[in-house]
Every structure is written in structure tokens, then in C-alpha cells.
Symmetry: C4
Amino acid sequence: MARVAMRKGRLEAFSDGVLAIIITIMVLEMKVPHADTIQSLQPLIPVFISYVLSFVYIGIYWNNHHHMMHAAQHVNGAVLWANSLLLFWLSLVPFVTAWMGENHFSTWPVILYGIILLMAAISYTILAHNLTLLHGKNSMFSRSLGSDKKGKISMLIYLTGICLSFIHPLVGFGLYVVVAIIWFRPDTRFEKAGEIIDDNDGETPLETDSHKKSLPLM
Amino acid sequence: MARVAMRKGRLEAFSDGVLAIIITIMVLEMKVPHADTIQSLQPLIPVFISYVLSFVYIGIYWNNHHHMMHAAQHVNGAVLWANSLLLFWLSLVPFVTAWMGENHFSTWPVILYGIILLMAAISYTILAHNLTLLHGKNSMFSRSLGSDKKGKISMLIYLTGICLSFIHPLVGFGLYVVVAIIWFRPDTRFEKAGEIIDDNDGETPLETDSHKKSLPLM
Amino acid sequence: MARVAMRKGRLEAFSDGVLAIIITIMVLEMKVPHADTIQSLQPLIPVFISYVLSFVYIGIYWNNHHHMMHAAQHVNGAVLWANSLLLFWLSLVPFVTAWMGENHFSTWPVILYGIILLMAAISYTILAHNLTLLHGKNSMFSRSLGSDKKGKISMLIYLTGICLSFIHPLVGFGLYVVVAIIWFRPDTRFEKAGEIIDDNDGETPLETDSHKKSLPLM
Amino acid sequence: MARVAMRKGRLEAFSDGVLAIIITIMVLEMKVPHADTIQSLQPLIPVFISYVLSFVYIGIYWNNHHHMMHAAQHVNGAVLWANSLLLFWLSLVPFVTAWMGENHFSTWPVILYGIILLMAAISYTILAHNLTLLHGKNSMFSRSLGSDKKGKISMLIYLTGICLSFIHPLVGFGLYVVVAIIWFRPDTRFEKAGEIIDDNDGETPLETDSHKKSLPLM
């Protein structure tokens, strides 16, 4: 059991490391302007907005990954590789963030940004699916994961956003913001159950219930 | 309890990772000069000074974050998000450090540097506030946090520094240095109580008392 | 015993950190195009393919390192230095990845890429050898490590790839992909034994057996 | 006691993180050549040599820091700040490594490289001194630290190297290599005592003795 915990711990540590680096190196794409006027920052505004959205997304992924791995009891090879797949797509976020920001949210960059988000969401679903297979359908893990309505809706919105970007990219960008808000907004059921649940994951029926939303497949 | 510790541990690990990356990538903004003369380093002096100040600030934040999370018993969703907000503002430090250094402490860069510091300080206050709410007003955590005089003074000095930078940016910069010195200087009460306190956080009344200043809201 | 675990833990943590940074900074070599057209991404395709291969390789190394260190009971100075040697060669992967990608898999970059992979594989063998010496030939660690047929074949393929690159670099590149597939493909014996083995490393004869392939010397 | 361990653990984790990032981002200073010929790598040879030396130095520091913190029982504010000072000087290593490499080991870059190494060595001495003060002169920690002959000789060689660089920089560079070899070379007493000592730090008189050299003040 201690050995299992260690293996899980190392997966968490590696993922945390990669996510911490992704979230931090993105800022390197915000090139420091040569002039020192307030106007010289103006061209950076879209880059900054793009950075904020990606920061929120990586933050949400870290938060959800944290919750899901916390609930997990075991990991196996399939979980390790699904996790690597997720990290792969997230590692491309700094690239598409910079491309989208520098091109002021024009069509192709917004589409590619959406595709990367969609790929990350699919990978997250695969990761959750592999964890469910490993723990069994009737395990505490699987029950707390729930039916993942939120995750399915997110993928649908990403897809819609990608398609509508061909008409106007800001519609696509707007829809990506909507998904971020859906995940960012505290869950009301989760709020009602309060801190007690938060400190006793998976030990009371009440908490299991409230956690249905706290282990989302984004 | 073990589960709670793990969750807190992962928050600490993620924050440590981000802070470690921020403190290290800042040096990448010090562009290596092409010439090999001692004179070629001269234009880097303001960039270096700017780097030193930011290194000290990130170091102080790491130190304070370390102390505060050490005293904390639980974390919840609100704490996670307040922590992310803090990391967001600190992630912008490399950008403003480079901008300020490359422009030799001229008006707008110094103002923006101050705004980022102020935002980080406000986020830290929110984080401490959320931790206090979670632990309760009468908890060991809240009592050791104290009234946070130092934190309130810091924010006032930042604000003054931002305003006075319009008259002369070096006044603003000087005030940011003052705040760093305030936090850097070892606390006299803390010194008196000595190492014993440092190794037994929150277990004796003496230690609680001396810790009032060691859990600051910068 | 707890002390030993800590030392091993810190070696793992440091290695995870370095591997996490390597895997993430590679993406910085994919320079964001200035144009916003889909065509502007075309020159990045070889860079992207190069990135994918390196991502998979670093992922495989992390996975294998994770398994091998998990099975290890002790570390000593020789292990620490062999580990540093491995990290040294892997730290050069972002450089050769970018060089190979930007030059569309031309002769010398492909050769150098192969040399770096070969050096990393040799270092990994030295690391495994040092761990075997430390644990003893008849230890659980050494038995689960096995004869390392896969590792020896990999080194042979690298060498062949380096030589054949003088005739045509894509042959070399193709062989590096073959090695990645060899390692990436789940081991059949490992699969048969299933998840149970994966959670009880080194405790049952069955599991030890199935692990012969899961502790590879790449 | 558990609390102390945690605090020490977080100091170690933060230091590991910073050292892992330093050792990895240095490679970013090796700019990928545009041509794909073997000749195009030639100008990178001094940069590569410079990188190798710095990699070895950071590796030595990580190794020594690892051993010293392993032996330490407590940390306090003074230790935290001495540790930050050490990390500060080491964070400048990528900068001086690149400057020295790009200028083919000419006078000023070699001098500055030596100054940074000297400063790091002094900071390490301060860190060890603060740990000794905290643990007491007669503690296991202080006795295993010993008189630190190796550390004092290193600082003398750095100083000599800096001075002699004014005559010819390669003399200075050669002396820095000498210090790296002094630390890199396995200690004979340490070797004789073997693995047993390495796994039971500070528990037998034999081991304490052999450790006199394994807790060096570089």
C-alpha cells in the first residue's frame, strides 16, 4: 500500500512539475517592449488576455488533476501513458497562447487553440476512463467521478467554438471563455456541503455525492 | 488527517515549483552581451539591480508562504484559487523586472512594477483571509497570524510608491526597496524567542506569540 | 530505513524536476510564426514531429526511471553520479531536437540526435549496473531487472541508425522511431499479469517475473 | 519532530527545484545553428565546454547540498536566508556560463565566472556555518561536517584563478576545472567504508568518521 502511494505520489509530482513549468514559461512569450511608455504596452494587451485565459485553464487542469488523483487509489501503465498524453497537449498551450495573442485572435490561431483544448479534454477523459477501469465501476473512485455531464458539455462547446471560428474567431474565443467560467465558478452543491467535505474526501456518503462535480472530466 | 496533509502538501509543492521557476527564469532576461569587456556589462547594471530586488521579493514570498502554509491545517477550494491568484501576479514579476531594468527605472515601468507588487500583496491577504475563514477566528492559525500590521503598512507604501513615481520614479523604486528591507530584516521578537520556537511551531504559547510576526501578510 | 527512503526520494524528485523541465522547455524551440495563416505552420511540421519523438523519449525515460528507482532499495554516490550522467545527456535533447527539426531531418542533425540517444542509453545502463552492484546479483532488484535484452537491442539499433544516416538520414530517423515503438508498446507478459502486479511490485514471484520487462535498460 | 522534517523537506524541495531549473535552462543558451553541417557546430564547442563545467558544478552543489541537508536536523530563519543567498549566486551561473562560452574563455568572462563560483562557495560556507550554530558545536551534524579543509582550499584556488586570469584566462579556467575534479573524484576514505555507510548516515561512529569528507563546504 505504501508502495502504491509512492508511485501515485511520483506521478503527481511529475505532473505538478510539468504544469508548474507550463504555467510559468508562458510569460516568456510576452516579449518586453523596448520603449518605456504606457503606449508600448498596448500591443501586448491581446497577448496578456491570451495569457490570462491559458493561466486559468492550466490552473483548472491542475486543480482537477489534483482532485482526481487524490481520489485515485492505484495507478498502472495505462494511467501513466494517458497522463503523458494529457501533459503532451497541455505542453503545446504556451505555443498556441502566444500565436493567438500575437495575432489578435484571428481565425486560424483561435481554431488551433481550440483544437489543443479539445485534445487536452479528450486526454483527460481517457485518463479518467483508465482510472475507472483500474478501480472498477463500483469503486468509490468511479462513483465520485459520476457521469461527467460537465466534461461532455465542455467538449461540445470546444467543438462548436472551433467550427464557429470560421465565421468569426471571437465567437470561438468567447466560447472557450465560457468553458473556463463553467469550471471556474464554484459548484453550488459543493459549496453547500462546505469545508467538511473538502477535508474528508470519499469517506461519507454526503461527501461522495458532493464530489460528483469536483472530479470533473474537463 | 493524512489525506488533508497530502492535499496541503501538493499545494505547497505546486507553489514551490512555480516560485522556483519564476526566480530562475528571471535570469534569462539578462541578455548575455556580445563583447567580452568589463564595459559591456555596464548596461546590465540596472537589469541586475532589478533582478536582485525581484529575487529578494520572490524569496520573501516563498519564505512567508512556507511559514503560513506550515501553520495551516486545512485547505479548500477558495484557498486553492486564492493561491492561484497569488501565483498569477508573481508570474508577471519576470516581465516587469525586465521592463524596469532595461529602461533604467523610468516612470511607467516602475509604476507597473509597483502595481504587480501591490496585486501580489492583495492576493496574499486574500489567501490569508481565506485560510482564516477556514480555520476559524479563534484557531491557532488565526491567532498566530495576528493583526498583520506589517502587511497593511506594505500595501500603503506600495501605493505611495506608485503615486510618487509620477514625480520621480526613483522615489517609487526606493519605497519598494524599503518594503523589501522591512520583510528581510529579522524580526526582533522572533530572534529573542530563538530556534526553539522555530522548531515547534504552534505548540507552545510562547511560540504562538513570537509567530505573530512570522506569518505576515505581505 | 526512513533515511534511505528520503535519500532515494530526493534523487527521484531531482530527476523528475529535470525531466519535467526538459520535456517542457523543448516546446520553446518551436518558434511562434508571425503570420496567422494555416500555411505559416507548415515549416513547423518537421519541428513538431521532432518534438513529438523527443517528448515520447523523455516520457519513456521518466517511466523507466520511475520503475527502476521504485524497485531500488538503496542509492550511493556511484548511483548519484550515474544518474547525473544520464540527466546530462538528456539535457541535450532539446538542443538536438531543435537542430534536427529546423533542418528537416538532414544528415548531421539526425546523426547527432542518435549519438545523444545512444549516450543516454549507455548512461542508463551504467545507472542500472551501479544499482545492481549496490543491491547484489541475487537481490530482488537484480532479478527483476533481468538480462535486459531490450536495452541491448536498442543500443544496437541506435548504432545502426547513426551509421545508416550517412546513406540516408530518414533511415536513421526511422530506426529511432522503431526503438521508441519497442519501448512504448505495452509488454505482453506485463499485460497478461495485469494491474494486480502493477500495484504490488516485488512482493510475489509472479510479479517479479512479469517485471523483468518493466525495468528495462533502455 | 514531524513538523521539523516537513520544514526541512520543503527547503530541500525548493532548492532541488531551483537547481534542477538552473541545470536545465543553461542548455537554452546553446543557440541552435541555422546550418546543418558538422562545421556549424564548431563555434559551439567552447559554449559546450563551458556548459559541461557548469553542469558538473551544479551537480556537485546539488550532491553536497543533498548530503548536508540530509545530516541536518533543524532549519531556522538564518538557514533559510543563507540557502537563498547560495541559490542567488548559483542562479547567475547560466549567465556567466554563456558569456564565458560565447567569448571563448577570454579574460573578463573567466574572471566573472570565478567570482560567481567564489561567491557561491562563500554562501555555502555561511549556510554550513549557520547550520553548525543551530545544531551546536558538539552535535553529530557539526562533527560529521569536520574542519572543511577541502572547502577552504577551493576558495583559495578560485581566488588564485581569478587573479591569474589577468595574466592568461586559460590558467584561471584550468584552476576552476581543478576544483571541480577535487570534488568530483570519489573520496578514498568514503570508498573504503563503502555502501553500508551510505545507507546509515550518522548512526555508527564509523559512518560519522567517513562522512567528514562527504559533507564538504565547497
